[in-house]
């Protein structure tokens, strides 16, 4: 029975957030708190020759200065990648492997004192020339070993023959830049010890990973570590795994014997918790005259840190979306002296944007409408997993999006839609994102007053998890959402996976569903076995529950409330449930249609309209889902037009490490975005019928914008972000 799932329920945590009552990790009122501030390396490669803490120690309020010289050895010296985000354990030796590596922590009575003292820690380095820059170092690219995260080498059919036999071929290279996550809440750790028990208030997308990683690093049994994350101000991947500042803070708090809070500065946020690597992508696409694809080869090269070899621009769509008989996928890496790369919403975004730009180029070469080209190569079966059952409503995305956008009115010739100085362009692209559900547990308890509480050790990273839990529990129990309270973000609750991979609503939702149904069964069982109940003697499956009332399906007048049943029972009823969706990973789809205006004078590009059609199965809550789709689209605008991290080659230092240097889109960059959900259930995904949707719109809208820029100007800019200088370059 679905009464509340699928409805645009307002965020249940919205009130607490807008009134400031929601306490994030760094807001916890802990008595006797001390403040930690990091000192980070100013060089990108080399060794610490000497650290002089004397001046820092002599300043008022300082409780301790910790460096590799006085910090105890951690229990894990070469930890595994996942749950650890980076395998380099800092402050255990003198080697520096990236700019911004942690070299000391100063702890003081106040944040100001700690900051001041941190500025007085003198570090002398033996610096070496770092290797920086993907494009500059492409000659060092190599194919990483099998099993390297994110790297894929794949061959289907005979790509060379497929290309040779093509009537039309496109051979192109695209570049995308380094991106940072920039959640508005910086990463924060607040470590409180009681004897050997540690409580961490942590801004993390995974309390489970944090508990595991910190316990192992400190050599503690897991149950001694409790992690609490009631709210998260965004993560986007940079809080998905466990970074050193978390266990460093825990270790230091133990040494000073005080609770310690450490919040990364905005600048430290650029070097302490990962980034999306730059990419160079080469695509060759061949097609027959009628647009049928004969072959695609897609090679992506990304930079990676020397410490953790990862290819964090994975290719997901190229092998899975279109019916192409001959295919080759190749991944390479270039090692540079930057910190570890990490998932960035959405990891496969850049590769899909490149694919969708290449298809646009093909559509021009074929003189074929880009939507028609995609439909010509449509397949209901994922060619990379033909045996996997799959509901795919990508066709609906194209048609719904095109219709809403007014695509048929497009004048095909580039530069043909002009408004004064402004060149207007329309572009479209497909979107695809693999979601990664997992295993979760939840507990539902309903009390004698008829109110329910649902608990799960997940975290609401801003996506609406609280709200989805309430909706699913309300439906599972048959009570009103007002009578359900969701509690999450505590390792004392049943475990749930990292909130990443666009999978929380479904994985957690399914666990909550199981727990709610189990609880409902128990209460129904109580009622039908109780001679005082009007339902006495009924078969449990004859009983329906709606909005807090239990009644006979065949005779709705015969029934009573949860409250009455539980009141007589005299105690609350609780049950747990779990879900294992780990075998159900698969893609969600979308199509994006963009209108841009390019100044014919300055080359400035502004997006004036964006329509995103999304097939993510059934929509659990249109309000929170829309918000996710909008967020994804804004991410795409940023990646396509404004965002890039610049690193100084000589110093290996990120020079854009703040929100004035790294340009996320502002209101004025974001037009009205129209989001359309196909909203058809994906039965193979789970009983809720929902797939992942948190990232899918961010995989195609950027290419739609780039393709629109081409339509506007007749110039192809093949490098993100598309800044005025790159547009002008085509006009010179």
């Amino acid at each position: 029975m679905s009464r509340y799932v699928g409805k645009p329920l307002h965020r249940v945590d919205g009130w607490a957030k807008v009134t400031g009552q929601a306490r994030y990790a760094a807001d916890q009122p802990i008595p006797d708190l001390a403040y930690g501030v990091l000192v980070t390396s100013t060089i990108a490669r080399g060794r610490i020759r000497r650290i002089d803490s004397a001046a820092a120690l002599a300043t008022p309020g300082v409780l301790g200065v910790y460096t590799h010289e006085n910090l105890p050895r951690f229990a894990e010296q070469s930890p595994s990648w996942v749950p650890y985000a980076q395998t380099l354990v800092p402050m255990q030796g003198t080697e520096i492997r990236h700019g911004g590596q942690q070299v000391a922590i100063v702890v003081a009575e106040s944040f100001e004192q700690a900051t001041r003292a941190a500025g007085l820690v003198r570090v002398d380095y033996d610096a070496e020339q770092p290797t920086i820059g993907l494009v500059e170092n492409l000659s060092r690219a190599y194919t990483p070993p099998d099993g390297t995260p994110g790297a894929l080498q794949l061959r289907r059919g005979d790509p060379a023959a497929g290309l040779a036999g093509a009537a039309v071929r496109v051979e192109v290279e695209y570049r995308t830049s380094i991106n940072h996550h920039n959640p508005i809440e910086p990463s924060a750790t607040l470590a409180v010890w009681k004897g050997d028990d540690l409580t961490l208030y942590e801004s993390t997308q995974s309390i489970t990973f944090t508990q595991d990683a910190v316990a192992r690093m400190l050599g503690l049994p897991q149950e001694r570590v409790r992690v609490v994350t009631p709210y998260l101000g965004g993560g986007f991947g940079c809080k998905g795994f466990v970074w050193p500042h978390t266990y460093l803070t825990a270790a230091v708090a133990r040494l000073v014997g005080r609770p310690v809070k450490l919040v990364l500065t905005r600048a430290q946020q650029y070097t302490s918790c990962g980034h999306r690597p730059a990419s160079v992508q080469r695509l060759r696409v061949g097609a027959a005259r009628d647009g049928r694809l004969t072959a695609i080869t897609h090679a992506v090269t990304s930079h990676t840190s020397r410490s953790d070899i990862i290819q964090f621009n994975p290719i997901a769509a190229t092998q899975s979306v279109y019916a192409v008989p001959h295919l080759e996928i190749a991944s390479q890496v270039v090692e540079v002296d930057l910190g570890t790369t990490i998932a960035t919403r959405p990891p496969s975004g850049p590769s899909n944007e490149a694919l969708e730009m290449a298809l646009d180029e093909l559509s021009w070469a074929l003189e074929m409408d880009p939507v028609a080209l995609r439909l010509r190569n449509y397949t209901d079966v994922d060619p990379s997993a033909p045996d996997r059952p799959q509901s795919r409503f990508l066709r609906e995305c194209y048609t719904l999006g095109a219709e809403r956008f007014g695509w048929p009115r497009r004048r095909p010739a580039p530069g043909s839609m002009r408004r004064g100085e402004l060149l207007v362009g329309w572009g479209m692209a497909g979107a695809q994102h693999n979601w990664h559900p997992g295993v979760a547990q939840a507990t539902v308890r309903i009390s004698t007053d008829g109110r329910a509480r649902v608990t799960c050790g997940t975290q609401d990273i801003g996506t609406g998890t609280y709200t989805i839990m309430v909706q699913v529990a309300a439906d599972g129990l048959g009570v009103r959402p007002e009578d359900v309270r969701a509690v999450l973000g505590d390792t004392r609750f049943p475990p749930a996976p990292s909130s990443s991979g666009s999978a929380t609503a479904t994985t957690v939702g399914m666990a909550v569903r199981a727990a709610a149904r189990a609880t409902r069964e128990k209460v129904v069982g109580l009622a039908v076995a109780d001679p005082r109940s009007p339902l006495y003697g009924a078969a449990p499956d004859e009983v329906a529950t709606v909005d807090g009332r239990l009644f006979l399906r065949a005779d709705p007048g015969r029934g009573e409330s949860y409250r009455q049943v539980l009141g007589r029972h005299g105690a609350s009823v609780e049950a747990s449930g779990g879900a294992d969706l780990s075998a159900n990973a698969g893609p969600s789809y979308g199509a994006a249609f963009a209108e841009v205006q390019v100044s014919g004078v300055t080359g400035e590009v502004r997006v004036t309209r964006l329509v995103c059609a999304v097939d993510a199965g059934r929509v659990l809550n249109p309000a929170t889902a829309r918000s996710q789709a909008l967020g994804g689209a804004v991410w795409a605008i940023g990646a396509a037009l404004t965002e890039h991290t610049l690193v100084d080659r000589r110093y290996g230092r990120i020079v854009t490490a703040n929100l004035a240097g790294y340009l996320v889109p502002v209101e004025a960059d974001v037009p009205d975005i129209d989001v359309i959900f196909v909203d058809k259930p994906a039965p193979e995904a789970n009983e809720l019928g929902a797939r992942g949707l948190g990232e899918v719109t961010a995989t195609g809208a950027g290419a739609a914008i780039a393709n629109a820029v081409y339509h506007a100007t007749g110039q192809r800019v093949r490098e993100f972000p598309i800044t005025p200088d790159k547009v002008l370059a085509g006009w010179r």
């Binding site: 100001e112 100085e421 100084d648 020079v655 960059d669 005025p724 200088d725």
Partner: protein, 327 residues
Amino acid sequence: MNEIRYVRASTPAQAVALASAEPDTAFVAGGTELTNLMRDGVQVPGLVVDVNRVAERGIEWQPGRVRIGALARMAEVARDTGVRHRLPVVSTALLASASGQVRNMASIGGNLLQRTRCWYYRDTALPCNARVPGSGCPALAGENRWHAIFGGSESCIRVHPSDLAVALTALDATVLTQGPGGARRLPIETLHRLPGDAPHRETVLEHGELVVAVEVPATAMAARSRYRKVRDRASFEFALVSVAVALELRGRTVRDVRIALGGVAPRPWRAREAEDVLRGERLTDAAVAAAGAVAVRGAVPREHNAFKLDLVSRTLAGVLGELGGGR
């Protein structure tokens, strides 16, 4: 944080006296710039002298000119009816600056005296000749997409980021100051120094010299003026290139014109030769193109900023086109 003393001055003379009595003092007005510089450790004053009660805050119209108090807020000046109609280049430049919130706090004096946005200047972990004399300039061979094409030297290629200063330069405004040596009137174009081999001396102001007001001629040309700013995002971002033009036409003939460029030099850059090319000419495509070409003559582009030459010419043409009522 460091120990910082703070005093609130009650007269201009007292402000000047306090600020000039010690070496490491700074005035604070809106604080939108100074606090950022302090937080980043770029500027570490021992004494901060609050001038919010001492300098002028009003916008005073006098015959043929307007006097804008140094403490007038950017937002106040931008929305002033007289400024909007008689000095549109000033209000459009202000409205293209920062954000609504910043403009509500930020003062006119503080705006003119904001420091370069050069990231090497603002990151104390890196060398910078303007911050630490003799330490080197990483921008020369580094990430210099935003840097100067005019007026730089081999020790510094910073850009002055104020939009307002560019507009005021096109109007030949005067900066009124009061310093330890008395009152001064400085043509705005002379306020910021070119780096030469002393890039750490950023302005001609003496230590402790207070900006009191700005005086702007309200000419016919000023009333036909415009500011255009090119940037990487639609708002809340500094200029890649900006152009301020004041134009006086008789029919299609340019009687007089002033052109100032922003985002290209350590100070607002007057394009006098381009003005000369246009003065007395009909405002034709050819004249505009000639002015655009002359405007970038002598530019010294670096690895990542050569696009600014083309962008200056194009933007100038765009502004002239708009002001000239279409070409």
